[in-house]
Amino acid sequence: MAQLTPAQRDAYWRKTSRLMWIIMAWWVFFSFVVHFFAVQLNSISIAGFPLGFYMAAQGSLISYVVLCFWNASAQNKIDEEFGVAEDK
């Protein structure tokens, strides 16, 4: 089955959009918000790195990898829930 009723379709898109906004919020947080406080964070040291520097050089990058895979798996779950995942 591939045809969704309009109501199902709206529900599917609501869930998809919600996931989008959640991931975007984390993206804004790790891309901008954290680094606004880099000067203050630099006074904290973690494993020899000043934290503000560490976040821009590694921390945020790790978060991007996690966000991309998280998005893929969460969206797959939504697809399966609505029966719109592709057949292999």
Binding site: H35, F53, L61, C68
Partner: protein, 598 residues
Amino acid sequence: MATQSTTSKSFVDNLGKIYGGYAGGFIGFVIILAIMEQMGVPNKVIGYCFVFLTIGVYAYIGVLSRTMELSEYYVAGRVVPPFFNGMATGADWMSAASFISMAGGLYLGGYGALGYVLGWTGGYVLVGVLLAPYLRKFGQFTVPDFLGVRYEGNTARICGVIVLFCASFTYIVAQTFGIGIITSRFLDIPFEVAIFVGLLGILVCSMLGGMRAVTWTQVAQYIILIIAYLTPVVWLSFKLYGNPIPELSYGQALNEIADLEKKLGILKPHVGAYADAKGQFSWVEFNNFWALTLTLMIGTASLPHILMRYFTTPNVKDARTSVGWSIFFIFLLYFTAPAYAAFAKREVYTNVIGQQISQLPAWVQNWSQVGGLLTIKDGNNDGILQLSEFIINQDIIVLSMPEIAGLPYVISGLVAAGGLAAALSTADGLLLAIANALSHDVYYKMINPQASTMKRLLVARVLLVGVAIVGAAVAGTRPAGIIQMVAWAFSLAAAGLFAPLVLGIWWKRTTAAGAIAGMIVGFGVCAFYLVGTRYFDMPLWFGIRNISSALFGLPLAFLVTWAVSLMTQAPSKEMQDFVDSIRVPKGELAWVKGVTHE
């Protein structure tokens, strides 16, 4: 549309074995060269071996992948598994600027240059969430294809082609320039000749097989570039701190740098955020940092040569996973680059500055003999090197790391091969994006819709060669600044393409008039700011440097698209149904009547 793929199933099933064997073979090749070096084979021969053997391998893959089918030529038959598409995207993405110049930028700029590291990675979150799966579902050949269908007509299509051309061409000139530099340095031939040798290297990969050939060579190129990037820095990390993971150990180097900075009286610390030359907090630096990060991220999600990589996966789900693998493979290089910078700075502050000029380490003496890259000038004639007497070009940091680490010349050759792989792979992706837009969107869709497959593929190849030659000719005039040209490409793409692509999928109310107006205003304002500040001494707006010029065009593009869309009649019911069908992975697309598609 579904043209049966001719890429044999056994090839796709055995990719792991094939590329595993290839990586092993490459490491074996490096070891053989290392042995030859010990036996006294001259460095120049080793340099030649690296350049010609790697280009030979790419050419071999390129010839094997030749094709006469449209879907193979344009989208690699849509059979590329997500893991390998991730590698190919990594190579497509990481250019000479990332491989050679970025670590040097971090050396010179410290925290301030981390804007590049963030900006060139975070955009993949936008690609994966907002665009890639939906463009894959759309399932055509090019990015302007999407604009032409969604915004019903050739006006939107041609606007898309113009933005694509301006952004990608700026970018490809920078890449060809980089290829010229590497080839001329390691083959010891003049720059102008080297550019055309590099050009051949680009064309053998892409001409016969289009996207199919580029995909499989890019996977091969990624493997070489990542081995080449990691080897010297891992070695040095082990030598200095007994820890083979540089990303963990360079924190210690940062602390040593901080102590040395105090001793040398440097006011702006390496790790200090948003500091001006005196080490004081500066709002201008602060604003430029987030502006650059934002521009590069949005640009990532708008550059057609990246977006079209996700047209090649078997399905929508794989397109999403593939974005994850892409950012992972890119991450491996990007989170290592700051370690390069820290190790080089530690070395310079410890063993170079404040030493007798006659007793500098061997790597400094070697590089100061190569024209203009490293300058030592004893200004006060005291025989001791002061910080201000030592000028280093940012491209040296990666290239000299093998010597700093005390590694044999073979590793220097390896690094050159890696840089070449990075530059060639990006140039190929860009070249294909431009030539495909011209042959598919302009020639086939607008000039001659009756053209036969044969004729379309012929036109595609002629344009490919034409664009490559023009690109090389422009690069031969040595237009200034690789990094700057690359950043411009990002700004232009971001301001022109991001709004119509994202709104076209996520806001059904977007109308053709709105999108076209948005593209023109966004791209126009961005180009105006770029050209005005670069060539006509226009004052900067709010102190924002022109590498972030999308900052003004981008919000305007959204604003204008939104306002004009609301002022014009809502898209037809058919168009809204079409958008709905793009949003759902399964099921046929609900094509709008009268729209031609493959």
